[in-house]
Symmetry: C2
Subunit: 330 residues, 2 copies
């Protein structure tokens, strides 16, 4: 059903509030979720139904444990990762604007941070080149193996431009874990090159894939290597668990850093060259059946802009009904 | 033929010297080439035969044009990229050791810098997390297109460990341009998913692939997105040409940066956790036909170590004869 974005925002805020968050926290979490929802990213308001996102009763004050003018190590104290990584972005933004570079690592959270591109794009909106890495419980095999040892380890890199920033937001896995669960629920099979069963056979059965391991996005050693790098950068580098070692379920990690292009060039020069690149790349000759060459994040930011302009967004009926129930409107 | 590494080093230095470099420059270039040669990386001493690496008569003093305590923009002044990127590594190393982070961009070079993993691993050897990006003339199509617009854009990330560092050294292309030229020379065909001809058809003919475009390493949008990011980071960010815009052949770029893990954790803690990761990953269950799970760079650094220990290295007879000729021993 099509509803107004205003109504969706209102419902989202109310639902988050029901899970026990303060008004300030509600604002941060709703912002991350609506970024995803407006982009048809599956990290949106669906997170608010079923088990939802009840505030962890153990959650304490977020603590900066180690700090320099260009860095912060942030103990998330079991707060929702969207709050903790959101704090990391604020800190990185402020420090990078002063020093040209900043980095923050977060640990001791136990939820997904949502769409990782959100955090990188927030930095790009400030004229910085933003990097974000996340690590989650092990679901993905290293190249040559069929035993899960890495998370689906998403990464995002965002580059400022004079339009929406370029936002590469990608998981290093062939599919998300959520994608397997969805296929299982819907009784659908999955492509045979997405995952192995727990005996090392390629499988089209999502249930067997869940018991086995997902492959890396390129089904080869480069993607597997990038998954490993993510595992280290958002694992031991930031004080989080890794590869099933440590408190895998209770101690997820994230790494955020930003580079000010002014260190090496002028911001306006970079932005104008990035526009030239966008124009050039989009004008290259298209393969048969291809209507448009898309920049990373372009389709999603266009969709979000169109929805903002129309003020309306389509939400699947069941999801909307459940969201209303959670928000206390049913 | 097997020769002593000592002899290969001597031959390499003498050959480089013949191309017009100073003794100090010879040392730097030979070091990069021998790193590759000891690892069976195709960026080794083969560069010294045929056209070789004559010093550019236009080459002037390398100039730092913009500098902060954490950054340097380096005008390579047409010096060989191995010298210029080598200088960038020295600067990054020194600044990162003081400040916890440093970044250097190089432009105005017109040669390959050789094995990009060399530069990242030099930083890891100092206990830093090293990143290196390179950009070269356009050979690779964006996802959805068959027109070359990106370079084969290699990237390297190196992580310190208590053994050899983990070194992910990868091109973002399905094959190197050199790989196409080799296949053409040998009259071999190439796999049908490596490249398109200049009309957008998949081709197994290396000559048609050279006239067409190479695909990204995953044949999809994520790899294409990473190639684009490399194009920007080692292109306009550092003052180099990009996407065929600007002096593509005369102005290649590189970006080097390093993060000191001490910003977020203790170096020893990171190193010991990386060792745990190596042990854990290598112990995962292997797919049929797989003898060993390899970490990025492991096979290559083991080969180099074994060769150093034996003091001997196998060099293909024709290559050795030509190298001797260049070195003035023929």
């Amino acid at each position: 059903m099509k509803i107004s974005i205003k109504e969706l925002e209102e419902l989202t805020r109310r639902a988050v509030k029901k899970y026990g968050y303060t008004d300030e926290e509600v604002q941060v979490i709703a912002d991350v979720m609506l970024y995803a929802q407006l982009r048809d990213n599956n990290q949106g308001v669906v997170k608010l139904i079923d088990k939802g996102i009840p505030k962890d009763p153990q959650a304490g004050e977020i603590v900066i444990e180690k700090e320099t003018p260009i860095s912060a190590r942030i103990n998330g104290k079991k707060n929702h990762a969207m709050l903790v990584v959101g704090r990391a972005v604020e800190i990185v933004k402020e420090k990078a604007k002063k020093s040209g570079f900043a980095i923050a690592g977060t640990f001791n959270t136990n939820t997904s941070s949502g769409a990782i591109g959100y955090y990188a794009s927030r930095l790009a909106a400030e004229g910085l080149i933003g990097f974000a890495f996340g690590r989650s419980p092990q679901r993905v095999a290293v190249y040559g193996s069929y035993e899960p040892v890495f998370g689906t380890n998403p990464l995002a890199i965002a580059i400022p431009s004079d339009q929406a920033p370029i936002v590469l937001d990608m998981s290093t896995a062939a599919t998300s874990y959520f994608g397997l669960v969805e296929a299982q629920t819907a009784g659908r099979s999955i492509p045979a090159d997405f995952a192995y069963d727990n005996e090392g056979n390629p499988t089209t059965d999502p249930q067997k894939a869940i018991a086995g391991a997902i492959r890396s996005f390129d089904r080869s050693y480069k993607g597997s290597g990038l998954a490993l790098i993510g595992e280290i950068l958002a694992g031991p580098l930031v004080g989080a668990a890794f590869c099933g070692i440590g408190d895998s379920k209770g101690n997820w990690g994230h790494l955020i850093f930003a580079i000010d292009p002014e260190l090496l060039t002028e911001r306006d020069t970079l932005v104008s060259h990035v526009s030239e690149i966008i124009h050039k790349v989009k004008s290259t000759k298209k393969l048969p059946g291809v209507d448009e060459i898309l920049m990373p994040g372009e389709k999603e930011s266009r969709l979000a802009r169109q929805r903002r302009e129309s003020g309306l967004i389509e939400i699947e009926d069941n999801l909307l009904a459940e969201l209303r129930a959670v928000a206390g409107e049913a």
